[in-house]
């Protein structure tokens, strides 16, 4: 009887050790999972940020080009920065958003 109890106790102690080692392993896995989730989320956020920034820059650039044209300078690639003599079809085509 005593022998049986000793064996059970050893078995339980072994299971406990196994559980303890598994716990630390799961803890590492959970940390890894959190890190991976965070890493996976970053590119999407970064892309959104880059797109938003590009749109902002594009709008600012468009506004700047429009201002430059309205101030009397070509914005078409052929004569960029040269003084306008009347409106230019190619500048207006470039500035227009059909």
């Amino acid at each position: 009887m005593t022998q049986a109890l000793v064996e059970i106790e050893e078995l339980l102690a072994s299971v406990l050790r196994e559980i303890q080692s598994l716990r630390s392993y799961i803890q590492v896995l959970e940390e890894e999972n959190i890190r991976l989730k965070r890493d996976a989320a970053l590119p999407a956020q970064e892309t959104e940020r880059v797109i938003a920034n590009a749109e902002r820059i594009q709008n600012v650039a468009q506004e700047n080009l429009l201002r430059l044209y309205n101030d009397g300078f070509h914005v078409c690639h052929l004569h960029f920065g040269q003084p306008l003599e009347g409106d230019c079809l190619f500048c207006m085509g470039f500035l227009r958003k059909d």
Binding site: D87, M92, D98
Partner: protein, 367 residues
């Protein structure tokens, strides 16, 4: 060199090549016409190194040879000659022209000094009906710029691709575009800016009896051959702007109107612009069924009204009258469609019966 010919033979040759004679060159030889007598024909040639024209006329050649004559004087002499058989002989760089009991001695230049006409290396070619090319030139060349400070706009863009040929002329304030099919050459590709002077010369020289024109080209030059004429021209260096981007794809107002009524009304309105220091600007006010055309100057005021059909928004817009008249004069159609997008955006004029042509013009901003 000795040959017999008529006044008309000489006149044909001189008239054909005279526009290629240089008027400003410091090289005297370029102010001359090279006359070559061989194979029972006379070949007249002139060049200013930008454009070169050769023309063959028949003649009775006794002795072959060649000579360069001063173009202006020779041309005036030929025009004044009587309509009789001419005997022409070269003696020591002097041309002896004999007719009836009279004669003229004309000193010339050494033909060896005359520049050779280059043969087009690696050239490709296509043909098209002369009548079609004449129409295309007429519909586009007038929109080119005459300002030498912007060379690419002093020529028409010829674009050959996918079995079509396009001509586009623009001075950046207006643009004329014409497309035609050349179905036998679907693989051919060409993109070159041809000087407006060259195009105008081809238009002048093309005759109705010349049915087909052969166009050869390489990267730097283009050659047109029709009837007994060969015309060579250099291409203008530089990149033509993206003209497709300039053509609006949408509009707010569409108006259909008679070419003749519009032309006559704008012509009458233009009369008032004489001595007008602000230029010849006409004001158009488009309403549902009529267009008012007005011009005011110190001389007075004119108000015209023509019937139109209008789809979309009513609006008022001002244009340089010349830009309108130029296009209305070259259209062979009764009715046009004018597409507008507000008083400051480019207008598009299209002939109703011809989808292959369009004309783009910018309005004038008025106070």
């Amino acid at each position: 060199m000795k040959f017999f010919c008529t006044k008309n033979d000489l006149l044909t040759g001189v008239n054909t090549v005279q526009k290629a004679v240089s008027s400003k060159s410091t090289q005297p030889i370029l102010q001359g016409i090279l006359i070559t007598a061989e194979n029972q024909k006379l070949t007249f040639a002139a060049t200013d190194l930008e454009i070169g024209i050769l023309c063959d006329t028949p003649a009775n050649i006794l002795t072959e040879g060649k000579m360069v004559v001063p173009a202006r004087l020779f041309s005036e002499i030929v025009r004044k000659l009587p309509d009789t058989q001419l005997s022409i002989e070269l003696r020591d760089y002097t041309l002896l022209i004999e007719y009836d009991q009279s004669n003229i001695n004309l000193k010339g230049y050494d033909p060896e000094e005359f520049p050779l006409f280059p043969e087009l290396a690696d050239a490709e070619s296509f043909t098209m009906p002369t009548a079609l090319l004449k129409t295309m030139i007429k519909q586009t060349v007038f929109a080119c710029s005459s300002e030498g400070s912007r060379p690419v706009f002093t020529g028409t863009l010829m674009q050959v691709e996918s079995g079509t040929v396009r001509l586009i002329g623009t001075d950046t304030h207006r643009l004329a575009y014409r497309i035609a099919e050349i179905p036998e050459n679907p693989e051919l590709h060409f993109y070159g800016i041809i000087p407006a002077k060259t195009m105008s010369e081809i238009y002048r020289l093309l005759k109705d009896e010349d049915e087909i024109i052969n166009i050869r080209f390489n990267k730097n030059q283009v050659e047109f051959e029709f009837g007994s004429v060969r015309l060579l021209s250099r291409l203008i260096d530089g990149q033509f702007p993206n003209y497709k981007q300039a053509i609006p794809q949408m509009c707010e107002t569409k108006t259909y109107l008679s070419v003749r009524s519009f032309l006559e009304a704008v012509e009458r309105a233009s009369l008032m612009a004489k001595d007008n220091h602000v230029g010849n600007i006409v004001r158009l006010v488009l309403k549902e069924d009529a267009m008012n055309i007005a011009q005011t100057s110190e001389m007075g005021k004119i108000q015209e009204q023509i019937p139109i059909r209008l789809d979309g928004k009513e609006l008022g817009i001002s244009f340089n009258a010349k830009f309108i008249l130029d296009v209305l004069k070259i259209l062979d159609t009764d009715e046009i469609l004018m597409e507008l997008s507000g008083p400051f955006s480019a207008a598009v004029i299209r002939p109703l019966e011809d989808p292959n042509y369009l004309y783009l013009l910018l309005p004038v901003r008025t106070a």
